[in-house]
């Protein structure tokens, strides 16, 4: 009885086959282990005799933005450089992987910020910095009046209660030798919060919250399906009543039909416990549904950040536009064929030696000389919208001349103009200013 894929791989597949390429069977046993699915259903509560209306009622629409929510976590100019060692007899540090290079954002209390981007853009590193699995190279992460970036591991311990993480892979993130009860209850004992005889009660409460049968606290993870394991992971993260949850690709390892179950559960939890989410995912549609605010990362930097309607409706950065246009759309079925899209050529450059100026310029169709010379500042151009591009504009109406010259005190080619007084734009605040730079009038405006 092993559904744990790790345990399973230790067992030679002698039962099913006798030759090399019987991958069909291997697949079968991996994906569809015959012993358990029968029992999977019984772990969950409340799925018997559902009718569509009830089910639809439980489904959520996209989470809405609360513009007045105060920030619970404020990240300012956060940096993470990993050293690269030379080969040779003496290993010297010859460079750094600039995994995260000066990003700033706020996560609103009880709200969610989505972090999207392609692999290697630094979004997962950001999540690990916030949960302090890594110690940042620079910058600050203000939470509850304390800077998480500066705390030592010991000082961090009481705060770990408040900042928890949900992992991507529900198969490897749960210890197969511990019961569900001890996995979910472990944080309670580590932090010594609840008297010993109360732990079980709390565990059962939590299992009920995530939709699992509370009587099943004595079972082992391998008796649960992928989606149910992810629920266990969520229950564990909730055990200590966290104020911030970092969810790193929480549904990407799950089957399509199960993804929606978990997303709905996370929405339930957010509404009930007022938890703030930093939601990291590469699936732009899921992020759109879950996060009223989204930051787009490219090569360690935030290139565009704003509310959902702006980022998905009127993106101003060529990278955001390319990313969105690359997503295959179910609605295309009505039209047939493939829709027109912006083609990005080549691969993401190495973060060890990123391009000068704007990091996206090597793959950008609008790039000009200035892009190689001057890094575009993350400029606030709307009430809740910031973009880092010299040629920021809506799709199809990118300006012909850089919008940033006056602010930076440079000419159109990016060379400094003698006597110009550049505004200090290289560092922007994590949140939004009351006033912003209007692209049409080239003036600072406000509400």
């Amino acid at each position: 009885m092993t559904q744990d894929p790790n345990a399973r791989s230790e067992i030679e597949p002698t039962e099913v086959g006798a030759n090399a390429a019987e991958t069909g069977e291997r697949r079968l046993t991996e994906e569809h282990s015959p012993e358990t699915p029968d029992t999977y259903g019984s772990h969950e509560i409340g799925i018997e005799d559902l009718d569509f209306a009830t089910l639809a009622e439980q489904g959520h629409t996209a989470t809405e933005l609360d513009p007045d929510a105060p920030a619970v976590l404020t990240v300012d100019n956060l940096k993470m450089y990993f050293p690269v060692k030379s080969s040779g007899v003496v290993r010297r540090t010859i460079g750094h992987v600039q995994a995260v290079d000066g990003i700033s954002f706020e996560v609103p209390k009880g709200g969610s910020l989505g972090l999207v981007g392609e692999s290697g853009c630094g979004k997962s590193t950001t999540g690990r910095l916030i949960t302090r699995l890594y110690k940042p190279t620079g910058g600050s992460m203000m939470f509850d009046g304390q800077d998480l970036a500066k705390l030592s591991s010991r000082e961090m311990k009481p705060l770990r209660r408040d900042v928890q993480m949900i992992f991507q892979d529900p198969y490897t993130s749960l210890n197969p030798r511990h019961t569900v009860g001890s996995i979910v209850g472990a944080p309670l004992e580590v932090h010594d919060i609840v008297p010993k005889n109360q732990v079980l009660k709390r565990v059962q409460e939590l299992l009920e919250v995530v939709g699992l049968n509370p009587e099943h606290y004595n079972r082992y993870p391998n008796e649960f399906s992928g989606g149910q394991r992810q629920r266990i992971g969520i229950a564990r993260a909730l055990t200590l009543n966290p104020k911030v949850l970092v969810a790193d690709e929480p549904v990407s390892a799950l089957d399509v039909s199960i993804q929606a179950q978990v997303v709905n559960l996370l929405q339930d939890i957010q509404a009930e416990f007022d938890v703030a989410f930093l939601f990291i995912a590469h699936d732009l549609a899921i992020v759109r549904h879950f996060c009223p605010e989204v930051a787009v990362m490219y090569l360690g930097k935030i290139v565009e950040i704003g509310d959902r309607e702006t980022i998905y409706g009127k993106p101003h950065h060529p990278y955001t536009q390319a990313l969105l246009s690359a997503v295959p759309d179910v609605k295309q079925a009505a039209v047939g064929g493939r829709r027109e899209r912006i083609r990005l050529e080549g691969d993401v450059p190495s973060p060890i030696n990123p391009p000068s100026g704007c990091r996206f310029r090597t793959r950008c169709q609008f790039a000009q000389e200035i892009c190689a010379k001057v890094e575009p500042p993350l400029l606030q151009i709307g009430k809740r919208h910031k973009v880092a591009c010299h040629f920021a504009g809506e799709l199809g109406s990118h300006p012909a001349t850089p919008i940033t010259t006056e602010l930076l005190g440079v000419d159109d080619q990016g060379s400094p103009v003698p006597g110009a007084t550049p505004t200090n734009t290289q560092h922007t605040i994590p949140g939004y200013e009351k006033t912003w730079y209007d692209l049409r009038t080239k003036q600072t405006t406000g509400v």
Binding site: G17, A18, A20, R26, G88
Partner: protein, 336 residues
């Protein structure tokens, strides 16, 4: 790669130095005087305190330990003159000292014993690779069948017998019970003196013992590695390309399965080259293993030191070779 090898050699030298220091200190601070064994031997077990003192003084055991260790190391590089009681002995570089029992330079005896040990190691390893790897591949291809299960369990049974017992039983049955012709007179007979047939027949049973025992282990290693390799995605790809089964199994499967097998083999083989105590003792082969056993029994300090150093050097070199071969076999491994 070159820098890596240099780095590993430097650390290897460091390890050898540490090993030599450790052995030196162990004897130096041991329960009895290091000169005691030789004094006992020279005086036919009538070693008085005064005589012991003479031996200790001439052997330098009244000097500080670092000074004597320094002399020992210097001897390895430039040679030295050793004094035991009233006799002086010349010991040319690389001087590993004189055997307390034979008063001969340790180096010469070491060199004379290397061919015997290497003959056993190479022949035995050749046999177990020759049979172990193909049987392992065959078992992996038929995994789950009765033949495979029978093979795996019987081989598991053999390899769970302690090796010395296995070797002893092999010797007993083949030479005493069945009196196998030609091969019963075991031992090492140099090719140069006794000819190839004598050399071969003398070592044959030792090879058989080592070969069968190693074969059971290498069959299991190979089978395990092969089963894993054959379930990889690239095997499915190879099949989807329309390649013949033989190509799939050997060119794609075995190639990948060999990497872990080679790694284990490199370390195993290094251990064999450093001396096979049981095999040499049981089949009466005058190799390094037996020699080191005798040295320990006779508390022959310089010989024990030399054999320990020798095995340290052999193991370090074979580990280094494994790493280099590994990087050649697996292009993903970059040595740095």
């Amino acid at each position: 790669m070159f820098a890596y090898v240099v780095k590993r050699l430097i650390s290897g030298v460091l390890v050898v130095t540490l090993v030599s220091i450790a052995i030196f200190l162990l004897f130096w601070y041991g329960p009895s005087s290091p000169a005691q064994p030789i004094c006992d031997r020279e005086t036919s077990n009538r070693c008085s305190a005064a005589k012991l003192e003479i031996y200790e003084r001439t052997l330098g055991y009244d000097n500080p330990v670092y000074e004597e260790y320094g002399k020992y190391v210097k001897g390895i590089f430039v040679g030295r003159t050793l004094t035991i009681a009233s006799n002086e002995y010349d010991c040319s570089a690389p001087c590993l000292g004189l055997s307390f029992r034979t008063k001969q330079p340790v180096k010469e005896e070491l060199v004379s014993r290397i061919p015997a040990t290497f003959s056993i190691a190479i022949g035995g390893a050749f046999l177990y690779l020759l049979f172990g790897v193909p049987i392992g591949v065959a078992a992996a291809r038929r995994r789950g069948t009765v033949a495979d299960k029978a093979l795996v369990s019987s081989f598991l049974f053999i390899s769970s017998i302690p090796y010395y017992l296995f070797a002893l039983l092999t010797w007993l049955y083949l030479t005493i019970t069945f009196e196998v012709p030609f091969f019963s007179d075991t031992g090492y007979f140099p090719i140069t003196q006794d000819g190839p047939f004598k050399w071969f027949s003398g070592l044959f049973l030792a090879w058989v013992a080592l070969g069968i025992f190693g074969c059971t282990q290498y069959t299991r290693f190979t089978r395990g590695a092969m089963v894993e390799a054959l379930s990889e995605d690239y095997i499915r790809t190879a099949k989807a390309k329309g390649l013949p089964t033989r190509t799939i199994v050997y060119r794609h499967g075995l190639r990948a399965a060999l990497v872990p097998v080679v790694t284990i083999f490199g370390i195993d083989f290094g251990t064999l080259l450093a001396g096979t105590i049981f095999t040499e003792r049981i089949f009466e082969v005058q190799g390094i293993g037996w020699w080191s056993l005798e040295a320990v029994q006779g508390r022959d300090l310089p010989v024990v030191q030399a054999t320990a150093l020798f095995s340290a050097v052999v193991l370090i070199i074979s580990n280094l070779l494994v790493d280099v071969v590994y990087s050649v076999l697996d292009p993903r491994v970059r040595l740095s």
